[in-house]
Structures are given as structure tokens and as C-alpha cells.
Amino acid sequence: MSVIDAFVRSPAQTAAPSPGPSRLREGIWAACFLAPTFAFLVAFVYAPALLAFALAFFNFHPGGTASYAGLSNFHAALSDPLFWRSMANTGLYALMMVPSTLVLSVALAALLHANRRLFRFAQSLVVLPYITPAVGTAIGWLWMYNPNFGILNALLRDVGLRPIGWLNSPEWAMPSVVLYSLWHGIGFDVLILLSAMSQIPEGVLESARVDGAGPWTRLFRITLPLISPTLFFIAVMTTIGSLQAFAQVYALSLSGGGPENATLTALLYIYQQAFTNGQFSYAAAMAAMLVICIFAVTALTRWIGHRFTFYQ
């Protein structure tokens, strides 16, 4: 059972029944074996997750004292135009990322799906950006996006179009970040689609071919329905990842979220408030609201996904 299966449906447990006198001893062994993992998880995941919410309700003062703040941090965030701007930017980013990731990854996987040397080489090149560091590769992109010397504007000029300001213009900055993110992340989606496609039984596609189904029909009527759990997984993961966008905007906007706050994502704003302005409680309140949004959107996506996912 893969992680994808675990994600989309609850896994059946593979526990072996254990009646008898050894039960207590086995329980002790299990506790000892699980303890290290759970010690780390409690200290750095479960407890902080609870603490994250608690922090938002207190204000901390330089002397080391704290005072109960009630909902004041939440109120402050809700009347902060930059918080709304950052949430809207994040939503816009997700709205651009999710559909384009789905369409592009399917298109690329359909093109690259072949067990030949050249195709495996091309697959590797598409996946490569996924394991490269975001800041390191963003530098090459900043150079490509450069309005005066970048290759992208050179291409636009060559085909007779007007050059674009890319990251320097408020309206093109976010699409530019999306383009970079697609380049950086889509290899992973293509790879899991390819692995899902390779699990489709040859016979199914072959008999469709014999029955006269063309390549497009086979793609839309057979391949896509059969890999719909993977598509759904990609949709959920891209949604969650988009709402948490940070490294790409941090690098491409030189940590500022500009121009004119056009690329200020929620997480970047939270980071700025916490670590540039030292407003930990305010940042925690905004982080809590972002997490609630992420949970809500994930639940919604899962609900929609379950209605459109075909399980074998």
C-alpha cells in the first residue's frame, strides 16, 4: 500500500492477532521501539501544533512576561489590509497553480510515457529541478526574467511580441512566480503520474485499441479515469503546497514580497511579522488562521475529489 492509498482511503491494518501470555512483553517491546520516534514528534510536531494556537492568545513583552490577549491578535489581523492582501495573493497563487499543475503534468506524462532510453532521459531532466535548491535555481530564473537582458524577453521580441516586466511588474509578478514553481515542482507530479500509468494493465489499452479507440479516446476514457486517484492526490498536494508558498516568493522577490506587495504570500507576511518585526503572537494568530484555511480547503478538495475519483 502506497502513501497515496493511505491518503485517499483509510488503510486496513495488517496487525497479526496476538493472544497469549507474551502480549504484555510484546507491548513493552512496541513501546520501546516507538518511543524515539514519538519523542521527536511530541516535542517538535504535536506539542508545537497545540502551542501554535495558544501563542496567538498571549502577548509577550521584552521583560519575559506574558499577558492574556484574548482575541485581540485575531482582531488586529482581520483589520490589517496587508494580511488580507497576503491571503488574497495566496489564494490567487493556488488558483493558478492547481489547474495548471494538473493539466501540464498530465500532458507531460502522456508525452514522456515510454520505456525507452531517450524518454527515460527526458523524464530525468523534467524531475531534476524538483531536487534542486529553490534559492539556487531562482537565481537563474531571476536572470531569465530580467526585463532588459533576460532570455524570456529576447524570445518575446523575436516572435514580435511586446516585452513584459515579469517580476518587476505588479500584474506579471505572480504569474512569473507560478511559472517558476511549475518548473521546479512539476517533475514530482509527472513522475507519480508515470508510475500510475505504468500500472495500467496493457490488455485494457490494447483491447481498446483493437476496438478502434484512438490515442485521445484512450487517454480520456481509459488512462485518466484509471489514474484518477493519483490526479486527486496531486490536486490535494498542490493545493496544500500552494497555500504554504514561501521559498519561491522569498527568493524571487528578494524576501520583500514586491513589487507593490504583489507576491506577498501569507507565509511570507507571517515570516516578516515574526522575524523582521518580532511580532510573534501576531504572527501566530495569522498562522493559526492560515492553518484553518488550509484544513478547510483540504477538506473541501477531498470532499470534491471523492465524488470524482474512480477506484478499481
Binding site: 500500500m1 496487525a15 521501539f33 501554535a52 535548491p133 529553490a134 531569465m144 496544500i240 528578494l254
Partner: protein
């Protein structure tokens, strides 16, 4: 007709792959161009092989330190996380105990909690422990790898159940079975998990950015981001520095393409 279609498809696939390489290639060319070839139109695509900017950039900042920091942090994280992962996955597969479903749910829950929500409280924890601006602070939060547990558990479930039954009959305890049978049979998976953690450490940005402030302990991505925000018009220097951060990952990918791709296609993209 069939072969023409195949040829077109192969050409498209190859062109696509090369297009994905282009942004890295352009930074590479910029970093080794002669200065007069950098700001030209149309952009320069054939390098001059002039490595003087590399030398200059390397000497101008503490890259060696940053790379050593990153490697030390990564290797320590790998050692701790592999140990916790092996024990946890073993217990989930080979030790029958009550509450296994609850443990599984608790592990799945980790995947649902966005890492970013944990950053501020984890920073507070590190401040309380006086670990801010240390390498340890960059290691501890990744001491347990849920991704690793999933991957290893999945692998252990494919091993024949008879091994365990036979070992039990021969009086082999959990530790001996783990050490003599499970570990040797899991080497490739453990290697994949280790690669993953290494890549995750090399590429991690936001947590080290928050928890460190001095170059003495900072990893390469953080040093690079400092360079980028302070000196954003030094294109050649930046491109050379970008190569210092990117080329080791490309080398790793060329060396270990198979285990990396195998791990990726089984993972859900969780780092660390």
C-alpha cells in the same frame, strides 16, 4: 507513418527535457562568461569557460563553511532519523500490540499539519533550550521521519512473513531479528531514505533562516539567500554561487538517479 509519429514524439520529449535544463544552464553560462558577454542582447548561450568569477566568489564568502555545515547537519539528521525510523517501522510491522491503528493515525496526522505552523513554537522551544543559532537546532526537529517510516514499513510488508515466523521458532528475539535479517534486507530502502533526508537538508530554507543568524552555523541555502538579498545586482557572482548550491545536487542526481526516482514515485513529496 508510425515511425514518423514516434520520431516527432521523441524529438518533443527531448526538447522538453532540455527546456527544463535551460534555467540552470543559463546561470551556469552567466557564471563562466567574460564580463563583457554578460549584459548582451540576445543572451549569450555558449560559455567562455572563464572560471575567474567562481574563484572570486568562492573566496569572497564562507561557502566552504556553509557546505561543511550543511553536510554535518545532513549526516547527523540521517543517523538519528534512520535509527528512529527503523525502530518505528519494525514495531508497526513485526510487533503485534494494541493501539496500532491509533499509532498509524497519529503518524498520518503529522502529514496533515503544515510545517509552517510549527515554525514559531519550535523557535520558542529552541530559545528556551538556548539552542537558537546552533547546528543542533537545525537537526532536532527532523529527528523523526514520517516519510521514512511509511517507505520502510511499505518495504517490510513485502518481505516474506515466514522469515519472522522461522526466526521466532528458532528463539530469535526482536533485536536479533532486526539486526540480522531486517536491516540487511532493507539496505536499498534505507539508502533511499538517507538520500531523501540529505536532499531535504541541502534544500531547506525557512527553518534554518529563522533559527540561525551567524554564518558559523548556517547551511548553504541560507548563505546563498543572504548573498542574494544583499548583492542582487552582482549577476555573475550570484550565478557562480547558485552553481555552488545546485551542482552538488545535480551530481547526486546523476550518481543516484535510480534510488532517487524510485523513492520519489513512492513518496508523497514529504521532505525530512
Amino acid at each position: 507513418m508510425r515511425t514518423i509519429a514516434y520520431g516527432l514524439r521523441a524529438a518533443a520529449a527531448l526538447a522538453l527535457g532540455l527546456a527544463f535544463l535551460l534555467p540552470i544552464y543559463i546561470a551556469f553560462v552567466t557564471s563562466i562568461d567574460r564580463p563583457q558577454d554578460v549584459f548582451v542582447y540576445p543572451p549569450h548561450l555558449v560559455p567562455d569557460w572563464n572560471f575567474s568569477v567562481w574563484v572570486q566568489t568562492w573566496q569572497g564568502n564562507t561557502w566552504m563553511f556553509a557546505i561543511l555545515n550543511t553536510v554535518v547537519i545532513a549526516l547527523t539528521t540521517i543517523a538519528i532519523a534512520l535509527a528512529t525510523t527503523v525502530l518505528c517501522a519494525y514495531a508497526l510491522v513485526y510487533i503485534p500490540f494494541r493501539g496500532r491503528a491509533a499509532v498509524w493515525t497519529a503518524l498520518l496526522a503529522v502529514l496533515m499539519i503544515p510545517e509552517q505552523a510549527l515554525l514559531i513554537p519550535n523557535f520558542v522551544t529552541m530559545a528556551k533550550l538556548h539552542l537558537v543559532d546552533t547546528r543542533i537546532a537545525q537537526i532536532l526537529p527532523y529527528g523523526a521521519s514520517v516519510f521514512g517510516v511509511f517507505l520502510l514499513r511499505q518495504h517490510l510488508l513485502t518481505l516474506p512473513r515466514e522469515y519472522h515466523d522461522a526466526a521466532k521458532i528458532d528463539g530469535c528475539g526482536h533485536l536479533a531479528f532486526l539486526w540480522r535479517i531486517v536491516l540487511p534486507l532493507s539496505r536499498p530502502v534505507l539508502f533511499t531514505i538517507a538520500l531523501y533526508i540529505f536532499i531535504g537538508c541541502w534544500n531547506s530554507l525557512i527553518w534554518p533562516l529563522m533559527v540561525t543568524s551567524s554564518p558559523r552555523v548556517q547551511p548553504i541555502e541560507v548563505l546563498l539567500s543572504t548573498f542574494l538579498t544583499q548583492d542582487s545586482s552582482n549577476w555573475q557572482g550570484l550565478s557562480a554561487a547558485a552553481m555552488f548550491a545546485t551542482l552538488p545536487m545535480i551530481a547526486l542526481f546523476i550518481l543516484f538517479r535510480r534510488p532517487i526516482l524510485r523513492g520519489l514515485s513512492k513518496s508523497s513529496g514529504i521532505n525530512g
